[in-house]
Amino acid sequence: MATTPPATGAVPGAAPSTGWNAATLLVALGAVMLTWELAVRLLGVSPDKLPAPSAVLATIWTGRVALAGAVGTTLYEAVLGLLAGITFGTLSGIAFSRFRLLERMVLPYFVASQAVPIIAFGAIIIMWFGNGVASKAMIAFYLSFFPVAVNTLGGIRRVSEEEIGLLRTFGAGTLTLLWKLQLPTALPSIFTAIRLGAGLALVGAIVGEWFGSSRGLGVVLLTAMFDNQVEQLWAGILLTGLTGTALFALVVFLQKKIAWWHAEV
């Protein structure tokens, strides 16, 4: 699930490399869909319990205008929050790297925030910012902000004293150092955090919509639950998965473009 946290790959051996790429995943997706369709048809499962994928796709097609609007709203909220989270997260990471005391004072809380359900604060954010786009973007913002800040600092710390010394002898100032050396070194780990943050931002937007909203994927899911419309519910689930995957793929694409020298995907 993408609710969910963590930052740097600090634990060696933790990053699982199953060697899967987009093509195998698509094949797998097709196989799962086919099995599902066949199972529903052959076993005669009631559509109230588990609709066949074809029925779900038909539902999506019928409600395509409304559903596209819902996807657009949620995506807008999530991306808005994510962009703010990336900006402020990177800036705080840089600030932490410059002011040791600030880092020591605040960073423990940033790190701890990734081990607790800070998404629950969403309820309070909705009280403060109302039912519109701003409150969901706010939730997406703070969920993606913490990992980006932590990973920016971690990445900047990876620069060695020798590298800094070398650039200093060439007369590089603090800003040049930051722009030419520290940020490029930190980019891969910043992107790791952004990939994580993209998922968190989407979940943040959806959960935010549960607390009060009239539009968005979260609303689609919630109304379908209250009206007991299982097909509509599956349509919402499928679209949420697609939206998340698209957002994730976009981040990976950007990473390959921007941090091409370190594109371990």
Binding site: A7, A112, P117, A120, V207, V252
Partner: protein, 271 residues
């Protein structure tokens, strides 16, 4: 490219600050006082801001007000905390065992993996909270809907990490053991499993966070008790201080459970 990042890193442990024992007391002291000072400053600023701007408590209650309300109905708070903790722990333990069992099965029978892993990856490529409403329809608003989703999420984290750990074994060591006539089972239990322990524990650490978050978020959709339910109920009834109490309680409980898992992990993987 399945989304493994959120599983990979493991949240807190070893990121920027590493609170490993062993440093002298002076070093530890220098790590402890700044966050304590920050907490004191924030609490002071918080109380001051509320007093200075005369903020009503539906905008921002003071920490003291939150504590007072928390103490007013300790039974209710304990009941909600207990509900959330049991849901997440039952789901966590069951999911961990399932994930570990599946990993061992997959490593032993590669064909099984090719059959079952795609389904697992597909299910988990959707954010788990999106299944929440469906779980409520299928399983009702009781604990089972939360536990099932937690089991799925947790077992996936553990499975993926355990698989990576079991696979990352040194082929030379395997060849060596084999040349001594060790059976596949011996190799799995004596070599692969111990070698995979760090990866497995990093999966377990991330998973415990997933479990708590899922429990709280899913309770917001509907539940009979629980901290997430308490947050939802309080905001609907406009008792905002109670929402703060529930949010605060869920944060504290998660930190405690996370620390316990972290501690166990360090004891178990001491090397």
């Amino acid at each position: 490219m399945p989304r493994y990042e959120h599983i990979a890193g493991g949240p807190v442990a070893g990121t920027a600050i590493d609170r490993r024992p062993g440093g002298d007391w002076r070093r530890r002291y220098s790590l402890v006082w700044p966050p304590v000072l920050a907490a004191a400053l924030i609490l002071a600023a918080w109380e001051l801001a509320v007093w200075w701007f005369k903020l009503p408590n539906f905008v921002l209650p003071t920490p003291r007000q939150i504590l007072v309300v928390a103490m007013q109905e300790p039974r209710q708070l304990l009941q909600d905390t207990w509900a959330t903790v049991t849901e997440s722990l039952v789901g966590y333990v069951a999911g961990s065992l399932l994930g570990l069992g599946l990993a061992l099965l997959f490593v032993t029978f590669a064909r099984l993996e090719r059959l079952a892993l795609p389904a697992y990856v597909t299910i988990n490529s959707v954010p788990m909270v999106a299944y929440g409403p469906l779980a409520i329809i299928w399983l009702g608003i009781g604990a089972s809907s939360k536990i099932v989703l937690i089991v799925i999420a947790v077992s996936y984290s553990v499975l993926v990490n355990a698989l990576a750990g079991l696979r990352s074994c040194d082929p030379g060591a395997i060849a060596l053991l084999r040349s001594f006539g060790a059976s596949e089972r011996t190799i799995l239990l004596k070599l692969r499993l111990p070698g995979a322990m760090p990866a497995i524990f990093s999966g377990l650490r991330v998973a415990v966070v997933h479990a708590m978050i899922l429990a709280v978020v899913l309770e917001m959709l509907g539940a009979r008790a629980g901290l997430g339910w308490s947050v939802y109920r309080s905001t609907q009834m406009m008792s905002f201080v109670e929402a703060w109490v529930a949010v605060g309680a869920s944060v504290i409980v998660s930190l405690v459970i996370y620390s316990i898992v972290n501690w166990i992990g360090r004891k178990a993987v001491w090397w």
